[in-house]
């Protein structure tokens, strides 16, 4: 057991897969000689060579598409797309190919591949580089979406992603790479569709994923001082979605806020909120609240950008507004 960063947890998951499964290889822009834009693949080229650590041209479409093809042929490609914003250039390959082939071939074809990508804002990269688009992928049948919030989950979910028989979008938040946490030496894996109660509480449920979990935990600490006992749930995977854990919590607390860094309208939080009120309407003391990104392209200026992203105080005040606590 040791404390490592989320970055190192991902690197460990990749290394382990490369060591244990010959079908696994990595592909992406600048993952090799540049050592990875976020340094997740640092040292891997030196260790595994060009056949398994493939620097690619800047061609997101064919990079994802070639991974789909390699997966069709039985390999297990792990692609790095530098940020989720650039996946816009490979949408067709993800949504109309990777996600569809199993169904359209009636199971003759499998596409076991992982697309690792960096999501989220808050690093002053401007509007083109700061989006949280994972919710779109989570709406597509045939895809799976994982978005870890800490090193333990990152490793456990990555193992499941690599072992999965379907295409998985693995969204790593740009501002979580330095988060530290304990990771056991012994093998474990985290099944998809199992949310985690990060903090138990009786008064209100905060549902979040990825960086939102940290925001929710911060809010819980503030709420505690106010005498409000929040339960924080980390969804861990957006598709499949663990509705049971969320609903059980809501039935206990009768109050719930969904935290989501994406734009509020049509963000993943909308799905979670809809699902909750559909299934637990009678348990609710008030509407399912949403704390989400404001509906603007991300501004470069740091103060402005921060004001557009959800923070703990917004969670606290939303709870106050809705539930008067």
């Amino acid at each position: 057991m040791g404390e490592i960063t989320l970055r190192d947890a991902v690197t460990r998951g990749l290394t382990e897969a490369l060591d244990t499964d010959e079908r696994v290889f990595l592909m992406g822009e600048d993952i090799g000689s540049y050592q990875g834009p976020y340094a997740v693949t640092k040292g891997l080229l030196e260790k595994y060579g060009h056949e398994r650590i493939k620097d690619t041209p800047i061609s997101e479409g064919v990079v994802v598409g070639a991974a789909v093809g390699a997966a069709m042929a039985g390999l297990r490609p792990i692609v790095e797309i530098m940020t989720i914003n650039f996946l816009l250039l490979a949408m067709d390959m993800v949504v109309n190919h990777a996600a569809k082939l199993r169904y359209m071939s009636n199971g003759q074809i499998q596409v076991p591949m992982v697309i690792r990508t960096v999501t989220g804002g808050g690093a002053q990269l401007g509007a083109t580089h700061s989006q949280s688009l994972e919710g779109w992928f989570a709406s597509v049948p045939g895809l799976k979406v994982a978005a870890p919030s800490d090193p333990y989950d990152a490793l456990g979910l990555l193992r499941t992603a690599i072992a999965d028989e379907d295409p998985v979008i693995f969204a790593e938040h740009a501002r979580l790479y330095q988060v530290r946490g304990d990771v056991p030496d012994d093998y474990y894996a985290i099944p998809f569709g199992q949310a985690k109660v990060k903090r138990a509480g009786d008064d209100v449920t905060l549902v979040a994923y990825s960086r939102g979990v940290h925001t929710a935990l911060e809010a819980a600490a503030i709420l505690e001082k106010k005498g409000v006992d929040a339960e924080v749930i980390d969804l861990r995977t957006l598709r499949p979605l663990d509705t049971a854990t969320v609903l059980a919590s809501v039935e206990k607390t009768n109050r719930v806020i969904v935290v989501d860094e994406a734009w509020r309208s049509g963000g993943f939080g909308a799905e979670v909120a809809s699902m909750i009120q559909e299934n637990a309407f009678d348990s609710l003391d008030g509407p399912v609240g949403r704390v989400a990104g404001l509906e603007v392209p991300a501004p470069y200026n740091g103060t402005l950008e921060a004001s557009a992203l959800p923070d703990a105080s917004q969670i606290v005040s939303t709870i106050e507004d809705i539930f008067g606590i």
Partner: protein
């Protein structure tokens, strides 16, 4: 023609099978038994047959939505394809794929892809897997002249050459993408093979109406590919004798143009040349025609008698 008798029979029979299959598909579409989009391969049969007859069983094929011809040439059973077109549970995809999405992985037939250019990056991946494993298999990647203007073409050509992937790019240049002539969509004009040079991929333009020419070019290209020297690009000049799909009013071309190309019908010309060369006689020609008609009738009967998929099929094979 440098061809044995049994080869001539095979090539002719396959081409005729495709022709008759397509004719009947068109008819069944008009009857409402086939739905959605239907793109026929009539006029282009020599390409699929010439190309695919030169492949090994363990090679992969991946193609576009105009895919019946390639599937039939590969030996995917006509019953299964026809059942798929009719949306039946016995079809190649149990009726869930349809005409544009024919798959038979047991034959290395990796689809039938309906997004123009979409199959190209996948072809690169199939080839990458072959190379990764150190095998000497090849990937046949089929696409149309219209696909050449998609970004996916460019990205795939570059990657395939850069990584020396074992792909044979087969461009079916029938001069039109839907109703728009290539001279109105491509700055480089209609001789697309010239573009391969930009990627350092060896290329040639071949006569897509001549099944033997196609086959011979393929045999040569495949040697190079299996030797690990990277991709080859072949542009087969051809023409579709019918509309883009069954929806196509064909207002964009003159019937004289169609007639001009029909003179070069790949099946008629091959039959006549084979007859002259003594490779096919009247009796054989008749028997082949009968066999093909029987196969098509069987396919239609099989498809018509097959069940539709039951409701349980809806949620099957969404995920693994």
């Amino acid at each position: 023609m440098d061809l044995g008798n049994s080869q001539a029979v095979q090539l002719y029979e396959k081409m005729l099978l495709i022709r008759r299959f397509e004719e009947q598909s068109g008819r069944l579409y008009m009857q409402g038994k086939i739905n959605g989009f239907l793109h026929l391969y009539i006029g282009e049969e020599a390409i699929a047959v010439g190309a695919i007859s030169s492949l090994r069983d363990d090679d992969y094929i991946i193609t576009h939505y105009r895919d019946h011809g390639h599937a039939l040439a590969r030996g995917v059973h006509p019953n299964l394809i026809m059942a798929e077109l009719m949306g039946k549970v016995t079809g190649t995809s149990g009726g869930k794929g349809g005409s544009m999405h024919i798959f038979d992985v047991s034959k290395g037939f990796m689809g039938g892809h309906a997004i123009v250019g979409g199959q190209m990056p996948l072809a690169a991946g199939l080839a990458l897997a072959i190379k990764y494993r150190g095998e000497d298999r090849a990937v046949l990647c089929v696409f149309g002249d219209g696909a050449v203007n998609e970004g996916s073409f460019h990205e795939t050509m570059n990657l395939a050459s850069l990584w020396k992937l074992p792909i044979i790019f087969l461009l079916e240049n029938n001069l039109y993408g839907m109703g728009t002539h290539i001279e109105r969509t491509r700055a480089g004009g209609k001789d697309i093979y010239l573009n391969a040079d930009a990627y350092k991929i060896p290329a040639a333009q071949i006569d897509g109406m001549d099944v033997v020419a196609v086959r011979d070019s393929f045999t040569e290209a495949l040697e190079r590919i299996r030797a690990g020297e990277g991709p080859v690009f072949l542009e087969a000049m051809t023409y579709r004798f019918v509309g883009h799909s069954l929806q196509d009013p064909q207002s964009y071309r003159e019937s004289a143009e169609v007639d001009q190309w029909r003179i070069r019908d790949p099946i008629d010309t091959f039959r006549e040349a084979s007859f002259v060369d003594g490779l096919l006689d009247d009796g054989q020609i008749t028997r082949i025609g009968e066999r093909v008609d029987a196969a098509i009738s069987e396919a239609i009967a099989f498809a018509e008698q097959s069940d539709e998929p039951g409701p349980e099929a809806l949620f099957e094979n969404v995920e693994g």
